[in-house]
Symmetry: C2
Subunit: 209 residues, 2 copies
């Protein structure tokens, strides 16, 4: 009675530690598949096609849209971003729990299309931690940091449309919390319809004897 995988969307403030949590989760457990987004933006230094993103031309991307081969897509700053449908569906059918690490706008679209999607929003323990992490990276200008903080304010307005809030106190704890959360979705009644049906049939067969 192999169950289909869970579809989980993980979003969160820039600097909340999503990327680190995802990396540690995938290293620790082998039941997850991380969906890779497609984009028309140019690869940055060190980015690899099929690892960070599938880097596509506008034509290629628009063909995916036309053929309904994206679960969700959006435009940011003149570039397309989207989630290819085939990878997600294949992995879920294999029983893998698929994680999409996408923006709020895309997350809400996925939830609309697939209401059983688990939406998780990652936050640092406090807003001060968020600022400290962005400053601590040492790679961002003050202008970028302010921009991120302003975006966090906007994102905070919709964070309660997510199902669950993951507080990133330590990476280890956040990984365990996220793993336990996703795994407990397998216990949902609607994910156990085959088992429930079989149980009913077995009970009838035994009592009918």
């Amino acid at each position: 009675m192999k169950q289909q995988g869970i579809l989980a969307v993980v979003s969160g403030f820039s600097g909340a530690g999503k990327g680190t949590i995802m990396k540690a989760l995938l290293e620790k457990y082998d039941n997850y598949a991380l969906s890779i987004s497609a984009t028309t933006r140019k690869p940055r230094e060190g980015e690899v096609h099929g690892r960070e993103y599938f880097f596509l031309t506008v034509d290629e991307f628009e063909t995916l849209i036309a053929n309904d081969q994206l679960i969700e897509h959006a435009r940011y700053v003149n570039n397309y971003y989207g989630t290819p449908r085939s990878y997600v569906e294949e992995k879920m059918a294999e029983g893998k729990d698929v994680i999409l690490e996408i923006e709020i706008q895309g997350a809400l679209k996925v939830k609309e299309k697939f209401p059983e999607t688990l939406l998780v929003f990652v936050v640092p323990p406090t807003a001060e931690d968020l600022k400290n992490r962005l400053v601590g990276r040492g790679t961002e200008t003050m202008e970028v940091i302010e921009d991120r903080m302003n975006r966090a304010i906007e994102e905070a307005e919709v964070m309660d449309s997510y199902d669950y809030i993951l507080v990133n106190e330590t990476v280890e704890k956040a990984v365990e919390d996220l793993h336990n959360l996703i795994q407990s979705q397998h216990m949902k009644a609607e994910n156990n319809e085959a088992r429930i049906k079989q149980m009913k049939e077995e009970l009838h067969a035994i009592v009918g004897k």
Copy 2:
């Protein structure tokens, strides 16, 4: 930012192993409080007032009903059974996760009153296991076993109105699954409204500086 406790109702087929799981869960973790039901039936050999049940007179029980001091109550075979409200509310306010081990009828009433209640239904891996466990106890007559199996058939019809299905393969795994399930409820957005509000205020304060 101390959170209120979770209210979880655990039901399941007679012989599915609920009692053993509850006992092991409460021994292993100290964040749970098991609610004790009130009843007007007479105590059986070895049962202690305040441990298995609060044994009340019909008058006492009807006073609780009249004063809205029960979360749910029902009559079975001329006896009242019910869940005292004060214990549940006090423990939840203390931050304890409260577990009610009650029948389906009561469980659905609690869910109606408190929609955020987590309903968990415990099943053995197969119906054959259920029969074997009932037979294996060695304390039940064949008539009682048949009665329990017939009741399982009735209960199986409503088990999909529960939120989660807990398959009791081993007690150790069932305890961990139940613990992880209940603990992940603390991450629900609606259980983190205070945190979300505080995060918004902190972000505004930092950016406003």
